[in-house]
C-alpha cells in the first residue's frame, strides 16, 4: 500500500506536469497524460497489470509498470528538448533584433 501511494503521488505530479505542458506541446502532453493514467490504473490494479503483461508477452505485471515508467521518462526528456528549442528561438529573435538595430545605428 505504501509503494502504491508513493507511486501514485509521483504519477500525479507527472500528470500535473503533462497538463501544464499540453497547451505548448499537445502531442507530448496527451501521450504523457495517457501513459500516466495507464500507470495509475496498473499501480492500483496489479492483477490487471499481470494479465495485460501476459497478453502482450512481457511476462510480469511489474515489468509492464516499469516499461510505462521508462516511456514517461523519455517523454519528459523529449519535452525538455523541445523547451530548449523554444528557448533557442527566443534567443534568435533577440539576437536578430539586436543585430538589426546595431546595423541601423551604423548606417
Amino acid at each position: 500500500m505504501i509503494a502504491q501511494i508513493g507511486l501514485s503521488i509521483l504519477l500525479g505530479g507527472i500528470a500535473i506536469y503533462a497538463w501544464t505542458e499540453w497547451s505548448r506541446a499537445p502531442a507530448i502532453g496527451s501521450i504523457a497524460m495517457l501513459a500516466t493514467a495507464s500507470g495509475l490504473y496498473l499501480v492500483w490494479l496489479p492483477s490487471h497489470a499481470t494479465w495485460l503483461a501476459d497478453q502482450v508477452g512481457i511476462g510480469r505485471g511489474v515489468d509492464l509498470v516499469l516499461y510505462i515508467w521508462v516511456i514517461i521518462s523519455l517523454l519528459v526528456m523529449l519535452n525538455l528538448h523541445l523547451k530548449l528549442r523554444s528557448q533557442m528561438e527566443f534567443i534568435t529573435v533577440l539576437m536578430r533584433e539586436a543585430a538589426i538595430s546595431e546595423a541601423d545605428r551604423h548606417r
Binding site: 497547451s23 505548448r24 506541446a25 499537445p26 502531442a27 507530448i28 523529449l78 528538448h81 523541445l82 528549442r85 523554444s86 533557442m88 528561438e89 534568435t92 539576437m95 536578430r96 539586436a98 543585430a99 538589426i100 546595431e102 546595423a103 551604423h106 548606417r107
Partner: protein, 229 residues
C-alpha cells in the same frame, strides 16, 4: 558602411567563416548593381570586414546561429529598408551572379511571388554522385510533405517578391530551413516557379557545404518542430 543601395533587388548572403571567398562573391554581385546584404553569422575570421570592403551592407550576429537564422535576419532587414525583390544566395561562391537576373525576370514574367533555382533543371557542375542521390531523396521527401512539385529542394538560390518575403518566417535556424522555406511557400498559397540555374561545386564549397549526415539532423529538426507550437 557603404552608401544606401538604390537597387530594388537585394541579394542576401548568409556567411559564416567565408573570408576566403566572400570578397569575390560580393564584388560579382555589386558589379551587377544589386544591393548586397551580408549577414555575418558570428564568424571567427574577417568575413564581415571583407564583405563590407567589397561593397556589401553587413549585419553581424553576435554568435553563430545558423544559415536559416541568418537568412531570416537578412530578409527582415531588406524588407525594413524597402526591398522590392529579395534573392538568397550562397556565400561560398557556388552560385553565378548572372542567375539573379534570370530569377527576378521569372518572377515578373510569370507574375508569381517565388522563383526557386533548380540545379536539376539547369546545371550542377562537378556534383558528387552521393550528393545527387541524397538531394533526390530530399526532393521526394519535400514533395510528399509540402505538395510542391519541385525538382531541387536544398538550393540556396531563390528569389521572392516583397509580398512573398513578408510571408516567410523561418524558425529553423540551421539546414532544415530549406525545407521549412518550401513548406511556408506551400502554406502561403502564393505562386512559385522553378528556374534553371547553375551550381558549380568546388573543393572549397564541398568542404563547407552540407555533409550527408546532416540529412538525418534535418529530419530530426523538422520532426521536433511539428511537436510543439
Amino acid at each position: 558602411m557603404p552608401a544606401d543601395p538604390n537597387s530594388a533587388i537585394w541579394v542576401v548572403l548568409a556567411a559564416y567563416n567565408e573570408a576566403t571567398v566572400i570578397g569575390r562573391v560580393v564584388s560579382d554581385l555589386v558589379r551587377h548593381d544589386y544591393a548586397v546584404l551580408a549577414v555575418d553569422d558570428g564568424s571567427h575570421d574577417a568575413t564581415g570586414q571583407k564583405a563590407q570592403a567589397a561593397g556589401a551592407t553587413v549585419i553581424t550576429h553576435p554568435v553563430n546561429l545558423g544559415q536559416g537564422a541568418a537568412l531570416q535576419t537578412g530578409i527582415r532587414y531588406a524588407l525594413k529598408h524597402g526591398a522590392e525583390y529579395i534573392v538568397t544566395f550562397d556565400a561560398d561562391g557556388q552560385h553565378h551572379a548572372s542567375d539573379v537576373e534570370t530569377l527576378v525576370a521569372s518572377l515578373k514574367a510569370h507574375r508569381v511571388d517565388f522563383a526557386l533555382g533548380s540545379r536539376f533543371r539547369g546545371q550542377a557542375l562537378a556534383m558528387p554522385w552521393a550528393r545527387r542521390k541524397v538531394l533526390q531523396l530530399a526532393t521526394w521527401f519535400t514533395r510528399f510533405t509540402t505538395g510542391l512539385q519541385v525538382t531541387d529542394t536544398h538550393n540556396g538560390l531563390r528569389a521572392m517578391t516583397r509580398c512573398g518575403a513578408a510571408r516567410i518566417a523561418l524558425r529553423q535556424n540551421r539546414m532544415a530551413h530549406a525545407t521549412e522555406f518550401l513548406d511556408q511557400i506551400a502554406r502561403s498559397r502564393l505562386g512559385y516557379v522553378e528556374v534553371p540555374v547553375t551550381i558549380e561545386y568546388s573543393a572549397y564549397s564541398l568542404a563547407k557545404g552540407q555533409k550527408l549526415s546532416d540529412s538525418l539532423r534535418i529530419l530530426v529538426d523538422l520532426s521536433a518542430q511539428r511537436l510543439h507550437r
